[in-house]
């Protein structure tokens, strides 16, 4: 029995089907029957069906999934660079080879202090060091604000305190907080 085909086929949803490359030539070849007028009921069915099937055959060589996967990998690399500072290099474009390869998992290691997490790390280290006097990798301000404030408190509690020393300590604190 001749087949019908909806005129509004472009408004219908599409299904994403993964076809292994070695099968493409056979899947495409089997669609041949749909290119024939005799398969379809009316001339309109034929026009719509032929249009749809020729586009489907054309898509079999579009490697749509490869594009999607490459874009997915590109998105992963963008986030890995922005968040952790991992630097990538394009070895070849055809086929696309980028190093380092995408790892099965990520750690919280910061690869570049200019990344998003790197900047947060710098900020955290700066606050820890300057305010609390904590020993960190990137900063070594001394004395810390806490130490300065303690020295001021100690000085104010002592008779004959030289206010110029207190003032100097406050200037240091002002400088650290600027």
């Amino acid at each position: 029995m001749a087949a019908t085909f909806p005129a509004d086929w472009r408004d219908k949803p599409c299904f994403l089907v993964s076809v292994p490359a070695p099968l493409v030539q056979y899947v495409g070849g089997l669609l041949k029957i749909l290119e024939k007028r005799g398969f379809w009921n009316t001339d309109d069915d034929y026009l719509n069906g032929y249009t749809a099937v020729s586009e489907l055959e054309r898509c079999l060589m579009a490697t749509c999934l490869n594009v999607l996967l490459e874009q997915n990998d590109a998105l992963y690399r963008m986030l890995n660079t922005a968040l952790f500072g991992v630097t990538y290099a394009t070895v070849t474009t055809t086929p696309l080879v980028v190093t380092p390869a995408i790892a099965p998992h990520v750690t919280l290691d910061v690869h570049d202090e200019n990344s998003l997490l790197g900047r947060l790390d710098r900020l955290t280290q700066l606050v820890d060091n300057t305010i609390n006097g904590t020993s960190v990798d990137l900063y070594s301000y001394t004395p810390s604000v806490k130490e300065q404030l303690q020295s001021i408190i100690d000085a104010l509690g002592t008779e004959n305190t030289d206010l110029s020393d207190v003032k100097a300590a406050l200037v240091v604190i002002e400088g650290l907080l600027a």
């Binding site: 055959e57 060589m61 086929p95």
Partner: protein, 117 residues
Amino acid sequence: MALGAVVASISDAVLVEARITYKARITDPATPDVGASLKRRGMFFLVTSDSTPDAIVEIPAITDSVLVTTGPTAGYEIDASNVDVAIFLSALIDTPACNPFGDVSTELDAAYIQSRV
């Protein structure tokens, strides 16, 4: 159409379409390469316009030397930059090749091998 008129008197059908087919036969053909398979078709999908379907042209026993050799479509896709393919495509578009609805092709959209019986 003249033949259609005389057929009408001996048929209950009504003539709505006539097709003209030219056939040519090579009387002394060369020997094909060993392993050449008519089922292994080179399929060329040619754009006609944004609103009309592609013209499909198939070449039997497409040769491996015109297939792309790198990338995900290696061994399947026909290399449009191949000199012989480019000459063929130019001839198709100059002819011009049409889809079954008479829409004229303008450029190649995709080309790859299919197994057709």
